[in-house]
Amino acid sequence: MGAGAVFRTYPAGDGGITVELGSAIDFLTSRRAFHLFKRLRASPPLGFIAALPTFCSLTVQFDPLVTDGEAIGAAVFAMAAEAADAIEEPSVRWRIPVCYDLTFAPDLEAIAAQIGKQPEAVAEIHAAQLYRVYMLGGFPGFAFMGDLPEALQAPRLASPRLTVPAGSVAVAGRLTAIYPAATPGGWNLIGRTPVRLFDPAWEQPALMSPGDEVAFYSVERAGFQSLEKRVAAGHVEPAEFRIR
C-alpha cells in the first residue's frame, strides 16, 4: 500500500466524491490530501471541476454531464497509488507579528486562568511554537494551523460571536488561526495582527498554503498600529512576512 493510499471513497451527490485518507486531524494525512490535490490539478481528468484538500480528505467536484463518480474515482485511485513515500520538506515559513494586548484579546484571561498562569505567559507559549498549515477553508484566506501546546487547548466558545475584528488571532482545540475579515467567529481570541491574509489582486490570492510553517512574534501596540497604517496605505507586500 503506497503512502498515498486511499482509505474510502464516498459519493458527494452525483457531481462529487469525498476521498477519505484518514479519520482524524493528522498533519501527514493533510499533506497527502494536498499532494493528491496538486496532482489532480496538474493532470485534471475529463470533467474535473475542482478539488478541496482538508484535514484528512479530498473532495473532488466534477461535471455529471461528461463524467461520473466511478471514472473520477478511478483516476484519483490511480494518482494516489503513484504517490511517493517521502513528504517533502516545507518550503515556506511565515513570521507573523501579533499584539497580545488584552484589548485585542478578549479571551486571553480565560485561557490563562485555565492553566493557572498570567496572560503574558499564554502569549509567550503561543508565540514559542512553530505551527504548520493543515488546510484553508471556511472563509477566503482562513488557514487552520497546528498543533497548539496542550496547555493552550480549549474548546470553541459555547456561543460564537456575531462578529470578530479582522486580523483576530484565535485558538480552538489543537488549532490556531487568524480571522481574515470581520466575520462571525466561535474561536477564542488571544490577539490581533494587521497582516493581510487574502487579496484577489495578489498572484496567489491567499497568503498561506497547506504545509507552510508559521511562527508568531509579539509586538507592542505602537508597533501594531504603525504596521496597520502601512497595510492600510497599501505599502506592505506579503513577502515582507516570509522568512524562508
Binding site: G13, T18, A24, C56, M135, G137, A181, P205
Partner: protein, 345 residues
Amino acid sequence: MKAGLRILSPGLLSTIQDLGRPWFQHLGVPVCGALDAWSLRLGNLLLGNDPGAGAIEMCFAGIDAEASGAPVRVLIAGPCEGRIEGHASARTLRPWRSERLDVGEKLRLGAVKDACCAYLVIAGGAEVPPVLGSSSTYTRAGIGGPAGRPLLAGDTIAALAAITKDEEVELPSSPAEEQGPVRVVLGPQIDYFTQGAVAALLNELFTVSADADRTGMRLDGPRLAHTRPADIPSDGTVHGMIQVPPSGQPIILLNDRQTTGGYPKIATVITADLPRIGRLVPGRSLRFAAVTPAEGVRLAREQQRRLRDLLATARVVRGRPLLTTELLLSTNLVDGVVDAWDSNV
C-alpha cells in the same frame, strides 16, 4: 455610448451572478453563482449569450431600471413581470420574452412570484469585471459584482454588446415547474445517523424555515438523530449537501456556503434538482427521495436535453422597429424633405 441599465431601485437583494467561481475553494473562496443556474442558462441562451454570462439575480422583488447610453435588450428568466414606461406608451414585460429598451425608457418589475429569485438577463451579458475568474458577487468578502456588494440605486450595469436587430425572442410558454420529491444521494456521513433519521429524511415532510439565504436554508420538520457526536474533522462541501448540526435540524447548503464544514452530512441533492431548491421560499414544503449517483447523472443529462428541447421551441418575433414612428414624426423638416434614415438613434 455604451448600452447599460441604470438601477433606479434595487429591490430587496439583487446581485450580479454568473455560474460561479469553483476554482479557489481550496483557499476558502465559496463558489457563489446563480441560485437557479438552469433559468440563468436558458435566459442567456435565448438572448444569444454565453450560457454562463453574468446577469442580475433578483431575490423576492424585481428591480426598477432605466436604459442608458444605447438601446438594451433584456429578458426576464423566472416568474417575474413588469412594465416598461416607454417614450410612446407603456408596455408589459412578461417572463421569457425579450424586449428592447430605448435610451431613457424605464423598466419597473414586480415581485418574484412563488419563487426565491428571477434573472434579468441582458443581451451580450452584463459587463462586470471578473474577480478570480467570475463576476459572481460574494458580499461577505467584497468580491465580484459592481463593487463586491448587492446592487444599489445609481449603479449602471453595462451590456457587453450593442443591439443591431429589432427581432425579439420568446418561449411559447414558461418552463414547467418540476414536481415530486427532491432527489438526493445519501451520505457522505450516512453512518453518523440513526436508521430512524434516514427514514425520517426519506418519508417525512420538511418546510423551508425563515432562516434561509444564499448560504443555506434550515428546514423545519423532524429532527434527525445522530449515532455519535455530531462533529467531524472539517471536510469539503458541495452544493446541495444537507448537513445536520447537533440540534438535528437539517440545513441544505447553497451557493455561498462555506467551503468546508465540521457537521455530518446525511445526503446531497442531485445536480438536476439544484435549480429547484434554489427557487424555494420560506414556507414551501418538500420531500426527499434517495437515488444512486448513477441515476443522478442520468437525470442531469436528461435535464440538459430538456433545456435544448425547450430552446428549440423558441420563436423569433418581430419587435418594435429600430426607427419608430414617433421618432420620425419628431424629426425636423429640412427643405420639406424628411430622410427616414437620418437619425441620431
